[in-house]
Chain length 239, copies 2
């Protein structure tokens, strides 16, 4: 069978912005695997009724069903070890250190992106999903989206979170060395998420083309035949 990736869609079917689905998409491209992309809504999860997950991404292929972007990385490394550009996660030592990158991305950096684009995100989501999404997230944040969305606070969080990324990427072209792998996709998922739903730059009013992190983002946008760069942005699709 052709592998199938179930992912979140937005108000327009061309809007696919979930950071976790992007990790899975990029991981498939890394392995040179073409998958059928099947959209799902928060309020209609019937496409993934066949499995235990209530979230996407979900990958289904000849080897079984894999849920959660990190499990998809593992699944791909296990069943397609040398395909395309090689391992995503690597051996035990590489995996242990990838776990640090993952925690850093999700527990330190992600909230900065969320606060940068929260209100844009609501507008990019499918109308049927908005009430569910907004009330669930507001309960988690303990504040309204109007308060949570704060570009100045967001850029403060991001500028601090970007510091070690800049330090690293001043010395090597990708998080994972000479070429990208799982660490790059883990981090970049949040960049492409924000890029698709919002025109607000995470870097400030102007971007410095000499910034190693800006340069890395551009390299990531170009990867795998420019799949991230070609993905339509919310601002390009009329409401």
């Amino acid at each position: 069978m052709t592998p199938v990736l179930y992912e979140l869609r937005g108000r327009d079917d061309r809007l696919r912005f979930s950071p976790f689905c992007w990790r899975a998409r990029l991981a498939l491209a890394h392995k040179g695997i073409e998958a059928e992309l099947v959209p799902m809504l928060f309020t209609d999860k019937s496409p993934i009724d066949f499995c235990d997950s209530t979230t996407v991404p979900v990958l289904k292929d000849d080897f079984g069903v894999s849920m959660d972007s990190y499990d998809i990385f593992q699944h791909l490394d296990e069943h397609y070890p040398d395909a395309g550009h090689g391992p995503l996660i690597g051996d035990a030592l590489a995996r242990a250190r990838l776990n640090f990158v993952k925690v850093y991305a999700e527990q330190v950096m992600a909230v900065g992106f969320f606060r940068l684009v929260a209100l844009d995100l609501v507008q990019a989501i499918h109308p049927d999903d908005r009430e569910y999404f907004q009330s669930a997230r507001e309960a988690r944040f303990g504040m309204s989206f109007e308060e949570f969305h704060d570009v100045e606070i967001a850029r403060g969080i991001l500028d601090s979170a970007f510091k070690p990324l800049r330090g690293l990427l001043g010395n090597q072209p990708f998080m994972d060395g000479e070429s990208p792998a799982a660490a790059d996709y883990l981090i970049f998922g949040f960049f492409i998420w924000a890029h698709i739903v919002s025109d607000t730059s995470p870097f400030g009013e102007t971007e410095d083309p000499a910034d190693p992190l800006v340069q890395w983002r551009e390299r990531m946008m170009d990867l795998h035949d420019g799949m991230a760069r070609k993905s339509p942005r919310a601002s390009e699709i009329p409401q």
Copy 2:
């Protein structure tokens, strides 16, 4: 020849606190290599006149001379690949991710430790070295040690820097997975440095024994026959 590790000594020859020398020491122990430890002062670098370095650690063994703690890791992996507890750095993917841990330790976390113990550090240093050390560092910081030493600011920096370490170490016993390797030694160098020169805890007035980072530090203190725990602290040695 018996490998020789050149390292910094303090006001008493038993006081060996340099975070970078500790990385090298722990890496040697990891490989099961017994080295002769030769002390050096900032103001008398004659012991390392034989090489190009002006800083310690320096390792000299049958395979040559290796300077800088990271180069020592590489040297040990190259010449003693399977000795003791195995690779320190690992393959290309593991190395790329280790570089992130290194940048994080040095560019985000270290300054917190330094601000926590700056004045204690001056007292632990050899009297001949104090003026040199203090004036060189004050020029770098742009403030006096009296201003720089600020436990409250330090704990704020550390609490923030510790967040992803706690997130990771809640899921795995060591930075490098089931057992320690280079990432643990890179980070722990700063913990043992502060521990030796000062009685001020990086965790606050009281330490929570349920904190995964406190638990990791204790495991690191016990490693390799408790070498870190056995190392004398400045407060145990009269001025």
